[in-house]
């Protein structure tokens, strides 16, 4: 069972691996430009496993910013993970004891959360380990490659690769949006609010924007389209 779940997690991690490889490649280039060594860039990726927070963090390092600034920036940009952790905590099977929760907490990224939380039924620790391992290797490896050899890849190719993760997001949200009115409403309201903030309220940071959009649209949809929960009892196979 463990091996089977681990393997399934690893398989689900492959698209994330490929997406991360290209995105963290860009981060690697940025980190070296900001004055970090290849090893330091790799360490940032290994210990943080997040895109926007790392980019902002490296900017603060380059500018010689204060630690308070670093803490506030990470809190703001990464606070969305708290919401994701809370949501995902409802989908954990019984074998998730404290050490296993402490380990898996490390790997709650936008993409891993997206895949894990949209699985049918409950998720197991080994499924999470497999997905986090494969995704994490992609993230660190891409960072090292970008930091070491970033300038070798033609700009139009690396630009195009920047779309991969967004493509993956659409592939996650659209099929259920076709089937469920509530999901469709959540997707459309969140996108709408996100555009309003981006174009009309640009002083709101990207991290906060995600929180605001998600909370407002999920509240609206929970009120208008409350769900029955019969399918949550079964554990995934």
């Amino acid at each position: 069972m463990k091996a089977q779940h681990f393997l399934k997690g690893m398989t689900h991690g492959i698209p994330i691996f490929l997406g991360y490889l290209s995105v963290s490649f860009g981060f690697g280039i940025l980190a070296v430009k900001s004055g970090l060594s290849v090893m330091e860039a790799a360490a940032v990726s290994l210990f943080n496993l997040t895109s926007a927070g790392q980019a902002a963090g490296v900017g603060i390092i380059a500018a010689g910013g204060s630690l308070v600034e670093m803490i506030l920036a990470q809190l703001t940009i990464n606070l969305r993970y708290s919401l994701m952790s809370l949501s995902l905590s409802q989908k954990l099977d019984k074998s998730f004891n404290t050490p296993r929760r402490l380990i898996c907490s490390y790997g709650i990224t936008d993409e891993i959360f997206a895949l894990a939380s949209t699985q049918p039924g409950l998720i197991t620790p080994w499924y999470m380990y497999g997905m986090i391992l494969v995704s994490g290797i992609g993230w660190v490896l891409g960072t090292i490659l970008g930091a070491a050899a970033g300038s070798l890849l033609p700009a139009d190719i690396s630009d195009a690769l920047g779309l991969m993760l967004y493509g993956m997001f659409l592939a996650i949200i659209l099929p259920p949006a076709r089937k469920e009115k509530g999901v469709l409403a959540a997707v459309l309201t969140a996108a709408g609010i996100s555009c309003i903030i981006y174009f009309l309220l640009p002083f709101i940071s990207a991290g906060f924007s995600v929180i605001i959009c998600a909370v407002i649209s999920a509240v609206i949809c929970a009120l208008l389209f409350p769900r029955d929960d019969e399918e949550e009892a079964e554990v995934q196979q």
Partner: protein, 102 residues
Amino acid sequence: MSIAIYIAVMAGVTYIIRMVPFTFFRRKIKSRFLKSFLYYIPYAVLSAMTVPAIFFATGSIVTAAAGAAAALVLAYLGLPLIVVALSASAAAYLTGFIMNLF
């Protein structure tokens, strides 16, 4: 200041944000409203992160829009994640290539 200290602080804050709700929140939520709320959160989060950011991901709105359109159609048809993701990149690259011919 040493870069290692920056990295340690950054990593510590990021980990705590993820760890606290994941580790210490053990109750099963009973409220139908809260359950529905948490069910819709991932879709809302992903949608908010994708729109409008997808249109600025390649540095050219035209190539990004081409990639987004390809992803939209293929995702709507229910194709696998990796197919949709690679097709989005390929469509953006090809559009940029064609634009450069003129």
